[in-house]
Symmetry: C2
Subunit: 416 residues, 2 copies
Amino acid sequence: MAKTASNLQIDSVRLWDTIHETAKFGATPKGGVRRLTLGPEDKQVRDWFRKACEAAGLEVRVDALGTMFGLRKGRDMSKLPVGLGSHLDTQPTGGKYDGVLGTLAALEVVRTLNDAGIETDAPICIVNWTNEEGSRFAPATMASAAYAGEYTTENILARTDLAGVSVGQALDDIGYRGNDAVGAQKLGAFVELHIEQGPLLEAESKVIGVVDRGQGITWYDGKIVGFESHAGTTPMPLRRDAMGALAEVALSVERIAKAHGPNAVGTLGEAVIANPSRNVIPGEIAFTMDVRSPDADTLEAIDRDLRAACAEIAARRRVDISVDAIWRKPPTIFNDKLVDAVETAAKSLGYSNRRITSGAGHDACNLATVVPAAMIFVPCKDGISHNELEDATQADCGAGANVLLHTVLSLAGIVG
Amino acid sequence: MAKTASNLQIDSVRLWDTIHETAKFGATPKGGVRRLTLGPEDKQVRDWFRKACEAAGLEVRVDALGTMFGLRKGRDMSKLPVGLGSHLDTQPTGGKYDGVLGTLAALEVVRTLNDAGIETDAPICIVNWTNEEGSRFAPATMASAAYAGEYTTENILARTDLAGVSVGQALDDIGYRGNDAVGAQKLGAFVELHIEQGPLLEAESKVIGVVDRGQGITWYDGKIVGFESHAGTTPMPLRRDAMGALAEVALSVERIAKAHGPNAVGTLGEAVIANPSRNVIPGEIAFTMDVRSPDADTLEAIDRDLRAACAEIAARRRVDISVDAIWRKPPTIFNDKLVDAVETAAKSLGYSNRRITSGAGHDACNLATVVPAAMIFVPCKDGISHNELEDATQADCGAGANVLLHTVLSLAGIVG
């Protein structure tokens, strides 16, 4: 059995077909996917995933935040299951691989073990985490964060989207508010396969990224209050133009992130003018910012510089600028033993690989705070993600799934 | 009769009450008015205005663009009527006086003449122009522009709002697509009373602004196309961030307008990010700009500087920036004879006054291209307009209406 297992390979054609079968739920004209968490398309893919798990002999359970767990029994049920998976929700104009690859590769691992008749010593649990993207409800990775104890379930259930719909209501609307308490499904470890969403692996022609760190993230909600007045009759010196202030804030976050480079990034991704009209000077603008760095001290320094810049802009332009850090995710250090297991699997399978830092936040980063966790990256075309043009090859997706398979086998153990 | 007429005064209490009676149509919690052109609140105020005109013995006619004309017969009907009026539509968060004062003061002039039993030689025609604001449909002052021959009626009827509703459809929806051809109601002159919407009269403690010029206006529709990508994994140097480009465009229009000061102004009033998400670098942003100057050459120079700035920003940031001038209004020179008539009326009534340039576009600016026209300004608090805080005093509104009354009498002639 051991020899068979060491030669075991997932079915990359089946994995590829599965990815493209689910891509129809929320498919966009440009070839991307729009599957906002807990919306009608998310319900479609969840129903599909539940059926697929049951067809693979898994016991499917759903927790109070809609996260789906599919358990494959091991010989020794006293051992905690090895978790593997990712998420099936997408950005408003997202791609076919972000999250989907890791979730369906986990399903492919189970199908491969079933076909080979392999029993593991510890059980295996595949997971579809609710709302990884954070596009509809903040924060991102909210379900895995609650699983890790960062938020209470009640706190997350009360979060609302722009339409005022709460997470609890959205769960009920699609019938995915489960009976299990969040955290009830214990895991002994967690491994997540994901596309890199960056340019490094492709640039260096590496197939596997052995992820050893994750960037820390700070999300800001900001608001500028100037004074709304007539665009034709208000002399330039008398203006308190919220748009002029927003422009300087946007250029400040860009400048400050570069100053703390090369690994820090800063983005002003949302800005909404209150009562916009082409002949009215904007009086109020709400905006959001996203700042990341793999170093905690750098995140602190950027926060200080950003607040100082906003204070200077506000005073000079006679407007109010409020900046509220609504979410702080510390940098992640993944578990050495698991990172080594991923690297060993990649090497034993003969895949070119490199250690890499995750620029994006992932559910595995939350899991890493409570159980040994690791991640596996595969390249995506031009490093493009959160975009309908997001692309990856069948070969790379298959390679990642094989590394996931053998990492999980090394952790769960094989019944010889 | 002549003596009576020279002492004639409008009823400032009645005018004030009328202004506040109509302010209930679209009243906002903050004390302003939201009465977008051809919407349900506009229908309410139009129905009210029609009844008031008929009660004052006027023959009300509506043209194909919904502009309302109330004719008061003169002794010599072979003479063209003296037109007076303004508009009853408002900004999305507008005030109680912008446009309303001039329209209701015209009604007050008729009521005053009726009460005094004064017949004029030439007829008098009070007007409520459709869509002066341009907030729902571009361009602003579209009905008076069509009246002046700047656009065909068909061209204006086909304009659509953000919801895709055409002007023609909106007119039918509220029952104000009239039978008269645009321009059928000929006028011999046009006088418009309006709040200044700027700070000068108040700053110099003047009651009446004798408007001799109007600023030229250029409206731009702009679009920035960069590349949408992941906010966490896209290194700063590789970004094509549409928000960074928008920020530089906003600061450029501000800088360029100041450089061509003191009378030029430039505003970026609208900006909409496509598919906004806090962890996605904006890939596409649509925006609008409003540029004004009383000097035609200055408008041209600003246009050149603005396009040069956008070209430089686009090249440096590797994004596309398109800037389309969708509307160009040349500076207005009001009719000397009428401007003198306004000044004479102000002086004879003993009101402090000064010559002034209109910073805003007005229906009178369009009329000035086809008939002798003039405007009368009164102060508004802190120069604030296009804002719910817009305010003016009963005394100043009454003074403006008295100047309007005597200007109209001097043009229409009194039957002695």
